[in-house]
């Protein structure tokens, strides 16, 4: 097979604050005609920089030191600015990562598509009429399975669901029938079931139109479904390259092995079972509902039922997982348990006391602590680690020297060296920040910690360390965890019991082993079936789900 794109000895460096750093080092990559290639790596490994170099959209402080990028034998780096511009959208296109921020909210979808088409036509020196462009846009929208083209064409971005916006983005990339499609983490911002649909769509488009695909991702499960050739990147270097089967079965480099081992399996011998915990309940909810009222200038707006009649109980020492897609009400349930918002109806009791009846004093607040999803926003950027950790301690009435001693203990608990006490958040990595956030939660001496997707902003290898840490802390300190997540493979291994939520309702509860072996509710089946996994065995063990069942819960993603 001849190669469509060939990168050789590519070196790119960035200048920041007078310091030059090499971001890409001797990168070599080959995309065959009609091939599907994946570039995987963790945050900061240089995979997005590689795609930007191909497209020619590097920021101003980037310097291409050496190397060549040959597209059909022609070095694009040597081309003139104008020729390079003309290649964008026609030779190669990119599917963006974030379906929401890629659209200008004040323009209709049709306007976005039409603009791209009009400017690309002009660059190519062709003129086109409005009707002609509209016809081409309709064809592309139908290609991405948005059959109600009129509605989509006239909709504002906010009127479409995340899945539909992602489809439109794919459509945007296809408008000019490019030869190479670059997909930068497509569907990462979406729920698993939607992500599954998007992956299938891209695969179909690639094979039907004879495109080549460069897939940039950190999710190895996605790679298995969407690529034949894999390049593993780390610190700007390609550490390993091979075909899908050889690389996954017999990885040569230690780094690749680590990366694969860090992924929690969904089925098979590698799955860990948490021991079931039989204790008296520490959290119990009975028939809890919560409705939010839309606020209008005059009168009452429509009310929206976020949580419907949820009853559950969490035993002392359990790791209770609350799973569900975005908007399923899992965070609302957690916030009601924490006493941050009040339930509209129903009873919530935590550690024997009813929540929401008497005022939540400081004692109650300290009983439950939370670790947030994004450690970047949950730590005050202007305060050092020591200052952040001292807050709960000082408000618990500890004296100066006691606070100091306790902070050192807490840092030891989360496996951070004592000198981190004087560091600011921006000097820490994502995993270190999350450790500090965990230490802050521990500082209040809580009985329950709510973990709100604590690892979703972290790389897989870091995720594994943080999860191991949490597990150890639970065993040592006798904590109870309420774990909120949409990552089912992680929950399979980490939780002692899980509950699945759909549109505010609890549809299934049970021990992970039982739920995953024999899911009762069709939604649970659809959800588990959509999880991207690492091997064919796991795919076989997944519950069988009919297309019809899936459609029922995915109704909003296809117009």
């Amino acid at each position: 097979m001849s190669s469509l794109l060939e990168i050789q000895d590519l070196n790119v460096s960035f200048r920041n604050y007078g310091i030059q750093s090499n971001v890409l080092k001797d990168v070599e990559l080959r995309i065959p005609e009609g091939g599907r290639v994946a570039l995987i790596g963790e945050t900061g490994s240089g995979k997005s920089v590689t795609s930007k170099t191909i497209l020619g959209t590097l920021p101003e402080n980037a310097i291409v030191e050496s190397g060549s990028i040959r597209f059909e034998g022609e070095d694009v780096l040597a081309l003139s600015q104008g020729k390079r511009e003309a290649m964008k959208g026609t030779a190669f296109s990119i599917i963006m990562q974030d379906p929401l921020s890629s659209f200008n909210p004040v323009f209709r979808i049709g306007r976005h598509l039409d603009d791209v088409l009009r400017f690309a036509d002009r660059r190519l020196g062709e003129s086109s009429s409005v009707a002609d462009r509209r016809r081409r846009i309709d064809r592309v929208l139908r290609q991405v399975q948005l059959s109600d083209t009129d509605r989509v064409f006239n909709a504002y971005p906010s009127q479409l669901s995340g899945g539909m916006r992602q489809r439109v983005l794919i459509g945007l990339a296809l408008l000019h029938q490019p030869r190479l499609l670059i997909a930068d983490e497509p569907g990462t911002a979406l729920d698993v079931t939607t992500q599954d649909e998007i992956m299938k769509l891209i695969n179909r488009l690639v094979s039907e139109n004879g495109l080549s695909l460069l897939m940039i991702t950190h999710n190895l499960g996605v790679v298995r479904k969407m690529a034949d050739d894999i390049y593993v990147m780390r610190h700007g270097e390609i550490v390993e390259h091979g075909s899908l089967t050889t690389l996954f079965k017999t990885p040569q480099q230690a780094y690749t092995r680590e990366l694969i081992a860090a992924i929690p399996p969904l089925y098979g011998p590698g799955v860990e079972d948490q021991e079931p915990v039989e204790t008296e309940p520490i959290i119990s909810l009975s028939n809890v509902s919560k409705s939010f009222q839309e606020k209008l200038l005059f009168g009452r707006g429509r009310s929206h039922l976020a949580v419907k009649d949820v009853s559950l109980s969490v035993g002392r020492g359990e790791i209770f997982g609350l799973a569900g897609e975005s908007g399923s009400g899992k965070t609302t349930v957690a916030r009601m348990i924490m006493g941050l918002i009040r339930a509209t109806s129903g009873k919530i009791a935590v550690d024997g006391d009813a929540v929401g009846e008497k005022g939540q004093g400081p004692d109650f607040r300290r009983l439950i602590q939370i670790v947030y999803q994004n450690p970047g926003t949950s730590l005050n950027p202007k305060r050092t680690v020591g200052q952040t950790l001292s807050v709960p301690l000082r408000f618990a009435g500890l004296s100066g020297s006691e606070v100091e001693k306790r902070i050192h203990e807490l840092l030891a608990h989360v496996e951070l060296a004592p000198h981190y006490i004087s560091k600011y958040p921006h000097e820490l990595s994502g995993g270190q920040k999350q450790r500090v956030a965990i230490a802050r939660a521990l500082a209040a001496d809580p009985k329950i910690i709510v973990l709100d997707e604590p690892t979703s902003a972290l790389d897989v290898s870091v995720q594994k360390n943080v999860i191991d840490l949490l597990q150890r802390l639970r065993d040592e300190l006798g904590l109870t965890f309420l774990f909120i997540s949409h990552d089912l493979s992680l929950m399979r291994n980490f939780c002692s019991r899980i509950a699945i939520m759909l549109r505010g309702e609890l549809v299934e509860t049970g021990e992970p082993r039982a739920v995953f072996a024999d899911p009762k509710h069709p939604y649970t089946r659809a959800l588990i079936a959509a999880v991207p996994v690492m091997s064919d065995e796991e795919d076989r063990l997944k519950p069988k789900t009919s297309l019809e069942e899936q459609r029922r819960y995915l109704a909003d993603t296809v117009a």
């Binding site: 900061g44 997005s48 610190h235 300290r366 939370i370 949950s378």
Partner: protein
Amino acid sequence: MSITSNNEPQVLSARYMAWYRFSRNPSAVAGGLIVISVIFVAIFAPLLAPYPDDVGAAVNFRIRHMAPDGEHWMGTDKVGRDILTRVIFGFRISLLLVVGVLGFAVPIGTALGMLAGYFSGMTEKVITGFTNVMLAIPPLIMALAIGNVLEPNLVNAMLAITLLWWTWHARLIYRVSKSIATEDFVEAARLAGASHWHVLTREILPNCVSVISVKTTLDAAFVILFGATLSFLGLGVKPPTPDLGSMVADGRQFLPEMWWEVLGPGFAIFYATLGFNLLGDGLRDMFDVEV
């Protein structure tokens, strides 16, 4: 994904990065040097001024209306006083006005803005409502009213400006702290048992500092201009105290023949205002905030 390289674990301190951005911005550095020179001149005015006696009610009719020459670099005024000397001392009055006005307006505006942004409900409604009412009063009318009811002098001019100036800070800090208040770290501090006072002063205020400093620097320029306007209209400092605004007003009647009597103080106003504006813009780029 952000484009950062993790292969070099070298982490630059926030201070270094800010300084790097500032020092590579020529207009910001120029602004900083101008502001430093203005402050330096104001502090050491008695040592720098060539004729310190001319600050007061000195009269020297033999050399009145002299054009600039080697002895009087900016010429002399209608009673023969050295204009350069009076401009140098005029900086003192201008800076005094800046410190007096912003020294009260900034803390008041910041405090009210933070309270309104952090507490919702009645507190927010009352403070923002009151701020909006105050914003509707034209500053010049307010100054005229105060100058007429009380007597027109420096303190009352300061009072008039302060009474209205805090509103701009309140409004800005309200917006900034309202968005900070929704951050996870604020909720986390509350859950850890922190008091409202702690959240306001330790969690929110440090994140407002950059915005406050940019706004205050830009404001200094406007206060100088506004103070000069008031003196020009006869509502500011009383003669013979040297004030840049009233010097322009005095010299105006001898235009266009004795141009130097307006040019000296006029240029001084321009110089100080430009300096603060450039510095403020530079700080804004350095902190990367919106004001």
